[in-house]
């Protein structure tokens, strides 16, 4: 009870907790802005800067990137990242970021807009919760590559570990080599293209989205089923792969397509009203 009173004091219950509480409309008068009005910088791609991260810790590296963006640098080259964790995170604007070396865990997480190229390898959870932009890893990646990604193109030209694209809700993940066990686990939306082999339990408990595999699939997970390729999506795959200098081993039309069987769907029309009752 004390907690509820506290939340009232902080204004969290100003509106009634049932039904629709607000309606938001687009405005035809909206101007042409191309970057977020918060935590983002308008940068110039032709303004290039380089820095050596050898003697900096991850917080100092991220602050350095932020400072450079604030100074209008739109092209940043980061040298010697030394596989440090959580580097290049939370970038919310356009930027060309070249990372010369390898990253540790949670590299380039929560990004929304930048085009990033990493010349080495990345550890676990690279590009976790990515919203938009492009990220290309030239070598291999660890587990949970692109966990909970919501948008953008995430590319690893080598092999990746297990649980690639776990809980992905949009965007495209491309793996040039093989992917490990439980890839696409609980996938909800988006597309994953694996040009090599896929490990056991591919697409386990996926709700929606599509997985394409060029090599052998060890086994499918619960409710993952084969779908039928269409000419339209083969053309889409060819176009997408070409952007990153990749191509399907036997042509996009011959990729195996995996989708949700939707046997695990237990939603019904009553759900929203049930939620209101709970509230």
């Amino acid at each position: 009870m004390a907690k509820i009173e506290k939340s009232f004091e902080s204004g969290l219950h100003a509106e009634q907790l049932s039904g629709r509480t607000q309606q938001i409309f687009f405005s035809a008068e909206e101007g042409e802005n191309f970057f977020y009005p918060y935590n983002a910088f308008e940068v110039d791609f032709n303004n290039k800067a380089e820095f050596d991260a050898k003697d900096l810790n991850n917080k100092e590296i991220n602050l350095k990137i932020r400072e450079l963006m604030k100074e209008d640098h739109g092209h940043i080259v980061l040298k010697n990242p030394m596989a440090k964790h959580s580097v290049g995170v939370g970038i919310l604007n356009r930027l060309r970021l070249d990372i010369e070396g390898s990253l540790g865990y949670f590299g380039c997480g929560l990004i929304d807009g930048p085009n990033i190229r990493i010349s080495g390898r990345v550890g676990w959870s690279c590009a976790e919760n990515m919203m938009s932009g492009t990220l290309v890893v030239e070598k291999n990646a660890g587990s949970t590559f692109g966990a909970a990604i919501r948008g953008g193109d995430l590319v690893c030209k080598g092999d990746v570990g297990s649980r690639t694209g776990i809980d992905m809700k949009g965007g495209t993940i491309i793996v040039g080599g093989r992917t490990g066990t439980l890839s696409g686990f609980m996938m909800q939306r988006g597309r994953m293209i694996v040009l090599g082999d896929a490990g056991p339990n591919l697409g386990d408990s996926m709700y929606d989205g599509t997985i394409y595999v060029g090599g052998k699939i060890n086994s499918l997970g619960v409710d993952a089923v084969h779908g039928e390729m269409t000419e339209l999506e083969a053309a889409w795959i060819d176009r997408k792969l070409a952007l990153y200098g990749l191509e399907a081993p036997n042509g996009a039309a011959n990729l195996q397509k995996i989708v949700a069987g939707k046997q695990l769907w237990n939603y019904d029309n009553l759900e929203p009203s049930e939620k209101k009752i709970v509230l």
Binding site: R20, Q23, I24, F25, F26, S27, A28, E30, G31, E32, N33, F34, F35, Y36, P37, Y38, N39, F45, R94, R96, G113, N115, M131, S132, G133, T134, R150, G151, G152, D153, G170, G171, T172, R189, G190, D208, T210, V225, H226, G227, E228, T230, L232, E233, W236, R239, K240, L243, K257, V259, A260, G261, K262, Q263
Partner: protein, 125 residues
Amino acid sequence: MSKKDELVPEDLGTEREKEIGQHIGYRYDVNLVPDYDRLTPFLKKYLEKMQWDDLNWLEDVHMGYEEDRPAVFDRNINGWVTVPEDMDLPDNQQDRDMIARELLIKFQMSQRHPMVVLEETYGKF
């Protein structure tokens, strides 16, 4: 006939679709793959600005409906944003999707966006 069989739509094509009673995957709807010939001038400018070769995250944005009104889902506020009643929409999904993308970007980048207030209230940097 079981209740489930009664609910299976008649136009389902494959055996698997008949078995599970619904279409598999949104990509069966050809209208949902973006037609790049229909990019609006604003979207062309946006892609150029971001230096993206395609629609990137906007490939997943489509015109939907909320309470019988055309609306676009904004992932940044986890809610639908409604298209004003006086705005005319084209009669095909491809053009509607392009307009949805344009409206969404303009809204996300505007000072009216709820994230602006959220950032002012709770932002740490």
